[in-house]
Symmetry: C2
Subunit: 483 residues, 2 copies
């Protein structure tokens, strides 16, 4: 373990993070909404701690190993999650308890979008902006994580995506390669955000709402500046824009990059994960629309299509926006959509869940097992886009899936132990583990009524989901700490 380097990097991250507090500080000053002091204090604190860590360790040099990579990722999310809670705790008119503040902060950064705050419309503008911005920054973190770090660490079969950087993994090239990949993809992320913000503005939102919602849309975060979420605007145009950008944000950013560079849509269609992702969303929309129409939830099929398609894309990509009170629909549809959030977005997107590629590999592998029953001695390679998938990737995907199911059940049970009903408990587990946001039952739109220990469990679940389980769990093994 190279602790000097690790803390130097944390110092740099904290310093960089402190700069991100300037916009909410400016907004607090502009609106005079009483949140100025808490943001100023947080800025000074993070700049001081981050700066001094960085300065005192500035001469630290050396290679980073795999284990260092795990620690940096975990520290990055937990330290920022903790620090990010400070404004929620101290800001006037907000003053969440530490438990609530940390829940909200982790929910923002992990782009989960579950909230303990109600009365958003009356909140200080600075805090509203800050929440949206937390999600946007979280999204940036996820892109690095998903495109550069997880493939390198080989989490849950994601070594599949190591293909782009040929040759065996060279530990000592960790840092430069990450920053190079990250920079390219962040341009795309920024571009999507800009396009989304302008589109929202043209559809009638204020600039404040347009930018705020563009942040939480491309980050697949789901935070809104209104209690009624996207439903507040009651505008087909706004809903269509949200749907388009949620859909785009749920696609592997490396695909966007290739399409951009080749100025052609072909890379999308050549990608089996993209095709499955699109097929799943389409099927979800068809089923939900038909169900809502046939059960006369909406007499008008076009109304059914409008709300069903928005809610399907929102929940299946794990965004978590609401354009209407979908919890009053027959329970089949919300439950179907929460189950779809387990599949979630594509690998290398800002979406949560288990990722479409893993679902696709499990499905193909399941078919292969059936064929194997009939031809026990046949060797049937599993192919994806014409290339054979290594057995090691397949077994990592199985492992990821089983662990995901076990952890989901364990979290649901742990919540129930505090006297919470099964629908609330298991949907809360899904909503946090999948980084979805809203659940069902008591946590359909707000987590405020959950007991404190449950909020801690859910905060842990958000982090587990975001770090794709293994990244976090690995530090609880003895093998990790053996030198």
């Amino acid at each position: 373990m190279h602790l000097g380097m690790i803390f130097k990097i944390i110092g740099i991250l904290l310093s960089a993070y402190s700069i991100s507090l300037l916009p909410p500080l400016g907004i607090a000053a502009l609106y005079g909404d009483g949140a100025f002091h808490s943001f100023a204090a947080t800025l000074l604190l993070t700049a001081a701690v981050g700066g001094s860590l960085w300065y005192s360790l500035r001469h630290e040099k050396g290679d980073l190993k795999i284990k260092d990579g795990f620690l940096i990722v975990i520290l990055f999310w937990t330290v920022l999650g903790m620090v990010g809670a400070i404004p929620f705790h101290y800001a006037q008119h907000v003053q969440l308890s530490w438990t609530d503040a940390i829940f909200e902060s982790f929910s923002g950064l992990t782009t989960t979008g579950a909230t303990v705050i109600s009365g958003l419309d009356e909140l200080p503008h600075a805090i509203l902006w800050y929440r949206q911005q937390l999600q946007w920054l979280g999204g940036m973190g996820i892109i690095v994580l998903a495109v550069a770090i997880l493939p390198m660490l080989g989490i849950g079969g994601m070594q599949l995506y190591r293909a782009e950087t040929p040759g065996p993994m060279k530990d000592n090239k960790l840092a430069p390669r990450i920053s190079e990949t990250a920079r390219t993809l962040w341009y795309i992320y920024l571009l999507l955000t800009l396009a989304c913000a302008v589109a929202y503005k043209l559809a009638g939102m204020s600039w404040f709402d347009a930018i705020g919602h563009s942040f939480s849309t491309v980050a697949i975060g789901g935070f809104s500046t209104h209690d009624a979420s996207i439903g507040h605007f009651n505008s087909v145009a706004v809903e269509l824009i949200a749907m388009v950008f949620m859909y785009l944000a749920g696609i592997n950013f490396a695909l966007h990059f290739t399409a951009w560079r080749t100025l052609s849509p072909r890379p999308y269609w050549l990608d089996p994960e993209f095709r499955t992702y699109t097929l799943l969303l389409t099927s979800g929309i068809v089923v939900s629309t038909l169900y809502l129409w046939l059960t006369s939830t909406y007499a008008d099929p076009l109304q059914a299509l409008r709300y069903a398609s928005f809610q399907t894309i929102s929940l299946a990509t794990t965004t978590g926006f609401a354009s209407t009170d979908y919890l009053s629909w027959p329970a089949f549809v919300p439950v179907l959509l929460v189950i779809m959030s387990f599949i979630g977005g594509s690998a290398g997107s800002t979406g949560g869940g288990m990722k479409v590629i893993r679902f696709l590999l499990l499905f193909r592998q399941g078919l292969r097992e059936i064929v194997r029953l009939l031809h026990p001695n046949a060797l049937i390679p599993l192919k994806l886009a014409g290339r054979v998938v290594p057995e090691q990737v397949i077994s990592a995907v199985w492992g990821f899936f089983s662990l995901y199911v076990f952890i989901f059940a364990a979290i649901g049970l742990a919540i129930m132990a505090f006297g919470i009903d099964p629908v609330t408990a298991f949907s809360a587990a899904a909503a946090t583990l999948n980084n979805l946001g809203p659940g069902l039952g008591e946590v359909g739109s707000n987590f405020a009524t959950m007991p404190d220990p449950v909020k801690w469990i859910l905060t842990f679940a958000m982090l587990l989901g975001r770090l794709e389980l293994f990244t976090l769990l690995v530090i609880f093994t003895r093998a990790f700490w053996r030198s």
Copy 2:
């Protein structure tokens, strides 16, 4: 496909089954309870159809192939399930609809134990006996299936147990090997049943109840002759006997056989599945007892232990007996126990669920994946009882697990589409797929209120669970029907 041989075997099975209708016929005559005619008719019908199939195909000879094996197993369960429904439909004072009769019959034969009948205590004795006997016969079928057929077909990693019969699988030796293995294990099954019946009698049951409950105990079936199930007797002795025999019936029968032959308990302790099974049950009992005591559900810790241990063994082994109204407990405990039923009994037992050995393999494999993250190039073989588990077995187990989870979610959703609430729907899916019996919510003790299409879905789920998914699903593939 060798259809002649297949139908000849079905003919033999039907003829044998018709003999099993003599005991309920005798009981109907003895009690004059109005069920005589329906049993007599069913006996004549099955004897006539079975006998003529057998007679007309008596000269059929030839080898059976893997595909024939699948078809025989599926036909065996579906034909008997259908025929078994006849008495429920026609018997006086019962007269279930065909849907209900078939549900009850499949529930008996698959040893699920879910019922659509209420007012058991007023039912004709012949019908009560018949229900118990269906479970007992189902248990006999399961033993052949689990110990002889599934390992040979290689379902979900069960080729692991093919080890006892060394050398590659010889298709043409299918029939003799099955009957040999089956006969030995049926002796043990019979012995357990006898011991259980005598013990129940000594504890105060009538002979009728003692034999009836011994049938459904060793079959891990869960049917009772009373609406209040084992709780009817309100006797610690009866509960202890039930616990012991449920526990024994959840152990691999091949282990009982080895222990019997060597007159030593060592084979049990050497078996990793047995140790995990025992550990899981013990942990379940400890957690449930503590929870019921700490939440003051029972003020007396011994009372908590009494009911918690019975309910844990009953649900975790997938028996489904109730010794008290456990659905009025805080929901954490029933949900925990229903989740434990997914693990279920041991392979080669009469228990349902995914089987302890698969859970154990998944767990070990999960640990191996974590170690692999830290040492990407290390080759770490997975061992069980000192022997390396072939990769093909591991991947079959992963495949089984994923498919199980997908099917569980699909069945739960399909039930919800008929307007059933989530707790009822998903617990009904678990109760049938795991061959457990009782669910939660609306199906906590009786399935009568479910709409007919839901009953058909659940009947299919029972069969899917009992045939370990693949055996049934394989015939829905194109590869199966290609010659």
